[in-house]
Amino acid sequence: MSMRKHYFKPGRDESEANLRAKISQALLSAQTDIDVVEKKVSAFERRLEEILNRLDDLESRLKKLEELLE
């Protein structure tokens, strides 16, 4: 390890101001689509529910099969 200590020099430059402006813009435009987002998430939740139901069904069938085999 070198003996010289490493400091950070505080301060902001122009490119950062641009990035912050772009972030604000991206956040604003994302918020306007929230209805669409909620519809997509609800559809996803329904699909997930179907998958879980299918798994439950499969599990109960397996259990019955095991009981029959015993």
Partner: protein, 253 residues
Amino acid sequence: MVISFSIHSYRGGTGKSTTTANLAVMLTLYNKKVATVDLDLTSPGLHVIYQVSQSQMKATLNDYIYGKAALEDVVVDLTNQLSLPRGKLYFLGASMKPEEIAKLMREGYSERFFREVAKQLGEVYGVDYVIFDTHPGLNEDTLLAVLSSDVSFMLMRMDKQDITGTYVTAQVLSKFNKTSYVILNMVPPDMANAPELQAEVSKLLGVPVIGVIPFYPEILQHRSRGVFILRHPKHPYTLRIKAVVDFIVNNIK
């Protein structure tokens, strides 16, 4: 070359700090040098998991950000303290003082900080990875942290609020062409076993899911007692963390 990651989530309580600490330790077991930076400035918690006392920290991240302290005074080497058999683990902790937290929240930090701290950690300590444990939510400073790191990991719980928030976050990040991955955390065990889960979430978010970690109550109970995977190397949680680290080491270069 140093690779920087941000660990981010839309909601608080998704296990960011726990995941950060466990991923970092697992990376050291791959003989990697890792620095973890606690950027959850309003509620720093990594030091609790690492069991670092305030007296071990000569200076805080806040001091470094304001140019008042050198990197060398902020970095705590945890390699021996955690008895890591290989690799190196460093920790950079945030201030717990309310006035310093408030000052940083009010003024924000600069984009250069992320580049500079990663560069200096590479130069001085030869680290392979820098992991930023960020503040949750979709605010400008947190997004600055995410966008300033090389790769973003979004942690998500499987509840509607978090799914919606993560979807929006993924949309925002896609506007910046950010390389992002999702890790599903605290997933109800029945759901975690669904083979389609990973693909369905990836399809919804448009972001690859690289890990599915079920909910284990023992992880929560263990939180203030150290890094879980070190105490429980054969626990299923440890194997899930290993799978994520396998992905990182093999795919993110």
